[in-house]
Symmetry: C2
Subunit: 349 residues, 2 copies
């Protein structure tokens, strides 16, 4: 529409920003940007290993989780290989699978939760080489506790690798991340600095897993793909756990506020362990799409799930109070208009 959005609440960015120490580190690194970043990401991997209680050999750093998902799909999936995911889960993962000739097999969400048992059963049934699950989930925000994910790992069939996308784990309640032996060859965990650490624009993700799987990335990755500035920012962000605690508080408050705004409008919200909340618009996907279009029209950028029945929701990122105020102002009118349009297009109800 030729103008900037008034409120960016669609990409689950962390509007509370990165640690001031991370900003300072990136600003200092900008002056050194004439040098290539370390292709081995040595310092960051050392720090991550210390943080996670594993060895740097268990960690690969890459251009966001997106980049790392592309690499692991390339390493494992060939034409016709099956990959199991939830219908309506992360489309970028599916893009990589399709791009390397894999065949996506889906199972539905169960009551707005990804369903570990169904995913495992489908993988077993189809001989899938990969299973994808995000915990906490995107786009719904729901999550399983550590024990449930631990049981899922234990049930991974022989010949299958579980990709556990933990992009939002830093924002989830304690007890959400399972304890997993980093050498366990059944699961590869993905983490990012884009969400809780507020560094989406710096492109730093990493995976933790079996050292043989981790070293295989070196056969396909863009070795000089990491920005020196991003490396510096991620390292500083990791070292500022106090800022992370601050972000957790801010995000929790923002989630509560979104739930409250929904309730003011007679809508319920899906429980969330992320920096977004899926608001149940109370009708079908057509109605929610009209709500989304109305919000966008008013300059409030939000997104929504793609697949029914989750597409009855719109997904609101946990923005700053000023962002959520714009959302609060926009929602009632949007809902009124959507109801008019929706009943108009489908007849009286």
């Amino acid at each position: 529409m030729g103008r900037a959005f008034s409120a960016r609440l669609g990409a689950n960015e962390n509007a509370f920003g990165p640690s001031p120490q991370a900003i300072a580190a990136m600003q200092a690194a900008a002056s050194d940007a004439w040098m290539y970043g370390d292709p081995e990401n040595h310092d960051l991997r050392q720090a991550l290993a210390l943080h996670h209680g594993c060895s740097p050999d268990h960690i690969i750093v890459g251009e966001g989780i997106d980049g790392l998902l592309g690499y692991i799909v390339r390493l494992i999936i060939g034409a016709g290989d099956r990959v199991v995911t939830s219908a309506g889960a992360y489309p970028t993962f599916n893009y990589h699978v399709t791009g390397f000739g894999g065949e996506i097999v889906t199972v539905p969400y169960t009551s707005d939760y990804e369903d570990p048992e169904r995913l495992i059963a489908k993988a077993r049934q189809t001989g899938a080489k990969l299973i994808y699950i995000a915990n906490p989930d995107n786009p719904m925000g729901t999550w399983h506790d550590a024990n449930t994910i631990g049981r899922m790992v234990d049930a991974v069939p022989d010949g299958t690798l579980l990709l556990l996308d933990e992009a939002y784990i830093d924002l989830a309640p304690d007890g959400t991340a399972p304890r997993i032996d980093p050498e366990d060859p059944r699961v590869l965990r993905f983490r990012t600095f884009s969400k809780a650490h507020g560094l989406a624009g710096a492109r730093v993700g990493y995976a933790i897993g079996n050292s043989a799987i981790i070293s295989a990335f070196d056969r396909v990755r863009n070795h000089f793909g990491m920005s020196k500035i991003g490396q510096a920012g991620a390292l500083a962000a990791l070292n500022d756990q106090a800022w992370l605690a601050h972000i957790r508080n801010e995000v929790a408050s923002a989630r509560d506020r979104i739930v409250q705004i929904a309730a003011q409008n007679g809508l319920s919200s899906v429980p969330s362990a992320t920096n977004f909340v899926a608001i149940d618009c109370g009708q079908d996907g057509d109605f929610a799409r009209k709500v989304l279009a109305g919000l966008v029209q008013q300059g409030v950028f939000v997104r929504m799930p793609f697949v029914s029945p989750q597409d009855r929701c719109v997904r609101i990122s946990a923005g700053r109070p000023s962002d959520l105020e714009l959302f609060e102002q926009a929602l009632p009118l949007t809902l009124d208009q959507a109801k008019t349009l929706w009943s108009g297009s489908t007849g009286a109800r």
Copy 2:
């Protein structure tokens, strides 16, 4: 060896640094790093299109030339497809070709120059899908004029795509870059902000070419792969052509200085249109490897060509006067030691 190098003269980085405007733009963008970079690289592509007199549809931005080479190889090369390059040319390109199952076919350099006629003839003979040439060349620094490259483009066989790596073109004499219709489907040009623009650590490269080829990148690329900070730095660097002129002068002086240091030691240099100079150590590869090892031992990081007879040279980046002073100090002793070791290992000569 557990210590930093005293002089980084091995990676052809631009030690004169990026434009101060680029540094300022990156420092400002660091505060906004909580936002994803624009996945379409809209502003940078607009500016590049203006700069090159083409449309943004002719430009794809990616994670350095390395990343873009990986994407184009993935798009075009399958198992057993042939790819022609010069023996001893860019190993990262070969890595991508091998990684996607392609078969590398090489032709030798001719007098330290990549040989357009031989490359074309070999492509014709083998039915190669890709030809790679760097102009100016790395690791030798030599170059062909625009007319020679233009004739090469005209000779590209049907069914073959020429990858013209112009990473160092901004440092070459006027008249090195050919005028090519951006819609010409026979050639894809690669440029980078890593060399003359001094932004190696920010990871920004781009390709210019036929709009159908360019749009194909969207089927495989990491859409959110670009750092917001890198985008900002590249845009500011492009807009500071005065700084680029300053860098050209600095690099030219540094090249002259390297040639002079070589001459002081009785060595000749290969002509260069890049920010490095290949010094002919005057003997074989074994000898040059001893020279390289001796320089590294003294804290001067340099590299060298891999393939005979080009491996008689060591490659020295066009560093700052202080870097080259360290090189100047290290070279005589290194040469003495190498001569001792070399004659010792191969008998009297």
